[in-house]
């Protein structure tokens, strides 16, 4: 085992990790505002990628991505307005089941709109085979794009949730909706906003990862499972932790490929999830104290 080979596995792990992390961030936003897991998050990722691919036929790449993000945000808002907003004091379980229903609906709708074909955006820089090489270690420029965009996303989100009035209002709604209402915060609008935001982030994630992973009407589910695992690993609601957890999971999977037969890759990630859920349900970086106060 030489150092270059090890680095190549590390690069592979980072590739997996950033893909998982960028999807996981979307889960955290709705969780931050509502305390629920939106199981339709993977479908937002798929919608973003699909819309961008379609629009790319008519406009340059940056415009297509921007429009795809906006379109998906509108869909996110519509979904919230149609299915969530008018519920009176919905239980967590009920809202989760609703999001599962929405995810199935979006997937089937995508199948009718786009068919079953696999699509992808072109690589943002270079082509499928261009790589940046460090000695014998090769990394696709798209991986750097994914990493960079996740980093910027996390920075913006941290700023938004910690230093802006709107962001803090959203967090207030999550920790105690009634108290937030008493303080004059429009809790319903905050929930809508969280759906819009996470739809947008999901869509952006879908655009950035699509050159690597491809996008198909049902590719959201697979991405969502890994993204969800990572969100739990890091501690729900914490986006920087999601990045770290994503990288941990990605590198672990990649190293497992190195030592074990490759078929065990998913066994590793799911075992890790189970261990975390048993030993530290608040996630690797989550606060045990804070998680006790949460409903879910």
């Amino acid at each position: 085992m030489n150092i270059e080979l090890l680095s190549q596995y590390l690069v592979a792990g980072i590739t997996y990790g950033t893909i998982y992390a960028i999807v996981a961030i979307g889960f955290n936003i709705i969780y931050n505002a509502t305390g629920i897991i939106n199981f339709a998050q993977g479908e937002f990722v798929m919608l973003g990628g699909m819309t961008a691919v379609t629009l790319h036929g008519y406009m340059p790449l940056p415009a297509a991505i921007l429009s795809a993000v906006i379109v998906t945000m509108i869909i996110g808002a519509l979904i919230e307005a149609l299915f969530i907003r008018w519920l009176v004091g919905p239980s967590v379980l009920r809202m989760i089941i609703i999001t599962i229903g929405i995810s199935i609906m979006l997937r089937e709708a995508a199948l009718h709109v786009w068919g079953e074909a696999v699509r992808a955006l072109p690589y943002f820089t270079g082509t499928e085979i261009s790589v940046i090489s460090f000695g014998d270690v090769h990394v696709s420029p798209q991986v750097l794009w994914v990493t960079g965009i996740s980093a910027v996303m996390v920075l913006c989100l941290n700023f938004f949730f910690n230093y802006t009035l709107l962001g803090r209002q959203m967090r207030a709604c999550s920790s105690n909706r009634d108290a937030a209402r008493l303080c004059g915060i429009n809790a319903k609008n905050m929930v809508t906003l969280s759906f819009v935001l996470s739809a947008g982030i999901g869509a952006l994630a879908g655009c950035v990862v699509s050159p690597i992973t491809y996008v198909q009407y049902d590719s959201g589910t697979g991405l969502a499972i890994k993204g969800f695992t990572v969100a739990i690993l890091g501690g729900l609601g914490n986006s920087s932790a999601a990045i770290a957890a994503g990288l941990i999971l990605g590198i672990l999977e990649s190293i497992s490929v190195m030592i074990l037969p490759t078929a065990f890759k998913d066994v590793v990630s799911i075992s890790l999830l189970l261990i975390i859920l048993f030993v530290r349900p608040s996630g690797i970086f989550g606060s045990v104290e804070a998680s006790r106060l949460k409903e879910f």
């Binding site: 997996y16 499928e128 890759k265």
Partner: protein, 390 residues
């Protein structure tokens, strides 16, 4: 409300009255195809092909005056769904034959259902285990994966390569291919230095190809039907793998090439002649059939024809020939007729069935193809001395 109920009752009565009349002069053929889901690259063109052909046959007055009633079920490549659809088609719809399923995993699951129901199954899946050992009612139209493996190994011999790294997906097709590759390697003087399988929904396979490269593989052989086969070649090129990359006959859909873009250049794979129909000499026995199917499909659906649609085409052609030969739509008579069919020209090759051979194709049904400038072209045998190819 009353009016609605009246209409509903009338409609129901009508269907009850009409149904037996329809059934009397039609031939019911079922199809279980993965129109959606991970194997939709197979199932969708298969379903479109059958729709097109049945409409065509019925417009021309059907088979011996009987029209075909086609019932397509979308299994989404799920073996469980395939099983329940098979039971439904056999027990409720009482079909003469079932075309499909698209994937080997599904076919193996419903093989026994077809046997018990004494209903002809014309599988569109590749694995050899489907017809070996022979099951009385089970046939298949795609070429044998065994022959595809031999083709690849023979080509590796001609390139003087001996170390192969095998990657396969965890589907029925992938597993069957992996088995054949490992079994037949030694006989061709090839050693399998690594054999790894991956999840068919994998999104990135950099670590897997790194492992195969590190094991010292001179060539990568990938066996899968999912989009993963585009991801494999992309990742292999990205980590700087310079040897040739072989794919199975599952690569025969130009969409995989489009998805992999530049990375697909130079990929080598065995396939039926449909993909290179344009460049076949006019004297080739398959030329006319291939050209017609390709033209019909492409003008109707505005997309490139693939070998998978061709498998469904062959299945229906064989069935119609057998029904004509048997002179009736009796299950037993048609089944016996299929076993006696010789020299049926299809898209996959020239079929010669017998009681022992329920596939009817041999290794000559395959050509080695490669990708040049985003198109499938015939591969020429390498000249002596050229051992490596980019």
């Amino acid at each position: 409300m009353k009016v609605l109920r009246f209409i509903a009752v009338m409609l129901f009565a009508l269907t009850v009255m009409v149904a037996p009349v329809l059934a009397a002069d039609t031939i019911k053929i079922g199809a279980i195809l993965a129109v959606t889901g991970p194997a939709s690259f197979l199932g969708a063109p298969e379903a479109k092909t059958l729709d097109m052909m049945v409409a065509d046959i019925n417009n021309k007055g059907g088979i011996k005056g009987k029209k075909i009633e086609l019932i397509i079920k979308d299994s989404g490549a799920s073996p469980e769904k395939a099983v329940s659809f098979a039971k439904q088609l056999i027990e409720e719809d009482k079909v003469l034959a079932i075309i499909g399923p698209s994937t080997s995993g599904e076919t193996m699951k419903i093989k026994s259902v077809a046997e018990e129901g004494k209903t002809i199954l014309m599988s569109c899946a590749a694995a050899e285990v489907i017809v070996n050992p022979v099951a009385k009612y089970v046939f298949k139209t795609p070429q044998m994966d065994k022959d595809a493996v031999i083709k690849i190994f023979e080509y590796m011999n001609s390139m003087k390569l001996t170390k192969a790294g095998v990657l396969s997906s965890n589907t029925g097709f992938g597993k069957a291919g992996k088995e054949q590759l490992e079994k037949l390697a030694a006989a061709h003087g090839i050693s399998v230095v690594a054999s790894e399988s991956y999840d068919s929904k994998a999104t990135d396979l950099t670590a897997e190809v790194t492992k195969v490269k590190a094991a010292g593989a001179e060539a990568i052989i990938n066996w899968s039907i999912e989009p993963a086969q585009s991801i494999v070649i992309k990742n292999a090129k990205q980590i700087g793998f310079k040897g040739p990359i072989f794919q199975s006959h599952g690569f025969g859909n130009i969409k995989y090439v489009e998805a992999a873009g530049e990375a697909a250049e130079g990929v080598i794979f065995p396939a039926g002649r449909l993909l290179v129909a344009d460049v076949l000499p006019a004297s080739h026995p398959q030329k006319a059939v291939l050209a017609k199917y390709k033209k019909d499909y492409e003008s109707k659906y505005k997309e490139d024809a693939s070998t998978f649609g061709g498998h469904a085409y062959d299945a229906l052609v064989i069935l119609t020939k057998a029904i004509e030969k048997a002179g009736s739509a009796d299950k037993e008579a048609v089944r016996n007729a299929i076993e006696g069919l010789k020299g049926v020209v299809g898209t996959g090759g020239v079929f010669n069935f017998s009681a022992q051979d329920h596939n009817g194709l041999d290794i000559n049904a395959f050509e080695m193809l490669t990708v040049k400038k985003g198109k499938f072209v015939l591969l020429e045998t390498p000249k002596k001395g050229t051992s490596k190819k980019k």
